[in-house]
């Protein structure tokens, strides 16, 4: 835990000791190093990559390309396998659109009950258009998905398995590697929503064996408005652009258009260079810390939190037992108190957490919990933050007897 002592000093937003920020699964705060990288790009002169021959444009082109290499390396990918998007949602939509629009009645897409709406609604919409079916891997008794059951469900009709690597509601780490093996055994493609995992676990796309993996910078200490999606060589030919416009063509003639044959095809419009620079800086920040250390730190905080919550009356913890594998995201409820009232009373004490359904309606419905209180850790949190949260929960319990 030593590397994380006094760590808030790297985050201007957290200098005020009255601020207890425990909502990093929604968005993380940004370290000063990332802010500095972003502003240094703009101060040094902005340019529009691939467009223009002057110094600023050349520098922007170079920065975009080096940022792409850094972000790609962060997930074990090659630069030509990584597309910039505006976030996880766009990445998942792009992939779903590419794969889903080729499916027919009789085909099956397998999702899990844990999916965020970003990995659910695109498939639901396409299923309506195309007539394929969606099957959800349910939550098993142990709180994860049952691989034996998955083996029965994933079959010759299955064309895509799309799964979140870590639940944004419960923190459960899903067995993506095992599911990918099952999928590939039947020739299905594997799409991973890594929004909650990339800043919490070491992620390597080739080790995981996925065909696409989407994530966003703002949940990993980077800027808002930029994300990336890994696209395997195998999948790339099947992809079609979501947007058409500048920068994606080699030649536009009166009667024909020759589209770019590389990733520029999927990045029409002026690129978000500042975002890419900040994204790369965030990856470097995490790499410097070491994701194994980040993970250790989170597990320590999570263990203390769960232990302390378990001692309180009327508190029901929904997150899985530690053996199962979980990230630093914990959901709980207080009997007789609506989650938004808990959130409000905690906010009044300076404690920021998230309440409600967390854009994952199938899961909260299946748990029948009508919304949860969610605590999620970031690298800047410490044991004192856990103490303050627990104090806050105690005042809620006292207020709503």
């Amino acid at each position: 835990m030593d590397a994380f002592v006094d760590f808030k000093k790297h985050f201007s937003a957290l200098h005020d000791p009255a601020v207890v920020y425990l909502d990093s699964a929604a968005t993380t705060q940004v370290p000063d190093s990332v802010l500095a990288a972003v502003s240094s790009y703009a101060r040094g002169g902005r340019g529009n990559p691939y467009r223009g021959l002057h110094t600023f444009a050349a520098k922007a082109t170079k920065l975009l390309s080096s940022s792409r290499a850094t972000v790609a390396a962060f997930i074990g990918a090659r630069p030509e396998e990584l597309l910039f998007t505006k976030g996880t949602t766009e990445g998942l939509n792009l992939v779903a659109r590419a794969l889903g629009s080729r499916l027919c009645p009789g085909d099956q897409v397998v999702l899990t009950i844990f999916e965020h709406h970003a990995n659910l609604l695109p498939w639901r919409e396409l299923a309506r258009e195309r007539g394929f079916s969606i099957t959800y891997l349910p939550m098993a008794k142990n709180g994860s998905v049952d691989l034996e059951l998955a083996k029965k469900i994933i079959g010759s009709r299955t064309k895509v398995v799309a799964v979140t690597q870590a639940s944004n509601v419960l923190g459960t780490i899903l067995p993506v590697y095992e599911l990918a093996e099952l999928a590939h055994d039947v020739g299905a493609l594997v799409v991973v929503d890594a929004a909650q995992s990339v800043a919490r676990l070491p992620v390597d796309v080739h080790q995981l064996g996925c065909d696409a993996l989407a994530f966003g910078a703002h949940k990993m200490y980077g800027p808002e408005g930029i994300g990336a999606v890994y696209i395997s060589d195998h999948l790339r030919p099947q992809l079609s652009p979501l947007l058409y416009g500048g920068g994606m063509v080699d030649e536009v003639l009166d009667d024909t258009i020759r589209y770019a044959e590389d990733l520029r095809l999927f990045e029409a419009g002026s690129p978000n260079v500042a975002g890419a620079v900040g994204f790369a800086a965030a990856c470097e920040f995490l790499q410097l810390l070491g994701l194994e250390h980040v993970r250790q730190h989170e597990l320590e905080l999570t263990a203390k939190l769960v232990r302390a919550l378990a001692e309180l009356p009327r508190v029901i913890i929904h997150s899985p037992a530690p053996e199962l594998g979980r990230v630093g995201v914990v959901s709980f409820s207080i009997e007789g108190v609506h989650s938004h009232d808990v959130a409000q009373l905690l906010a009044d004490q300076g404690v920021a957490i998230r309440a409600g359904y967390h854009c994952a309606a199938p899961l909260t419905r299946c748990l029948d919990i009508g919304g949860t209180v969610r605590v999620s850790f970031g690298v800047y949190n410490d044991l004192a933050d856990v103490d303050k949260l627990i104090e806050g929960v105690k005042t809620v319990l006292a207020r709503f007897v």
């Binding site: 938004h340 009232d341 409000q344 359904y357 009508g370 005042t395 709503f400």
Partner: protein, 121 residues
């Protein structure tokens, strides 16, 4: 600490007035607030001369939404449909006696939205 949970609100949330289903309702309306997951069903009986004669509701959700429904329905019982349609968000905030703020205003306005929709039909 904010007075968002002042005693009167907690009391209305805990012991809502006019709670239950009105079998003879002339108007019913289901209204939901997706962010909080608050839901209410309101039941009204209006008279031929345009008065809201009876009111009731059932629902589930946060203190603000349930207390606001209880307080608002209590205040509209016996008033004319036209008067109720003329009510504005500020009236609800006035009834609650707190400033719900941008994040909770939707909880507070859930019952007014329901009333306006059902009575303007």
């Amino acid at each position: 600490m904010s007075d968002m949970y002042r005693q009167q609100l907690l009391d209305h949330a805990r012991r809502p007035r006019h709670h239950g289903v009105l079998a003879e309702a002339t108007h019913t309306r289901h209204e939901a607030n997706p962010s909080c997951g608050d839901v209410i069903d309101i039941y009204l009986v209006t008279s031929s001369n345009g008065l809201v004669e009876q009111v009731s509701f059932t629902g589930q959700g946060c203190v603000i939404s349930q207390a606001a429904t209880s307080m608002l329905l209590e205040s509209v019982a016996g008033r004319s449909v036209a008067e109720v349609l003329a009510m504005c968000p500020e009236d609800v905030v006035g009834l609650l006696g707190i400033e719900p703020g941008p994040m909770r205003i939707n909880c507070a306005l859930l019952p007014l939205r329901a009333l306006h929709k059902v009575l303007s039909r």
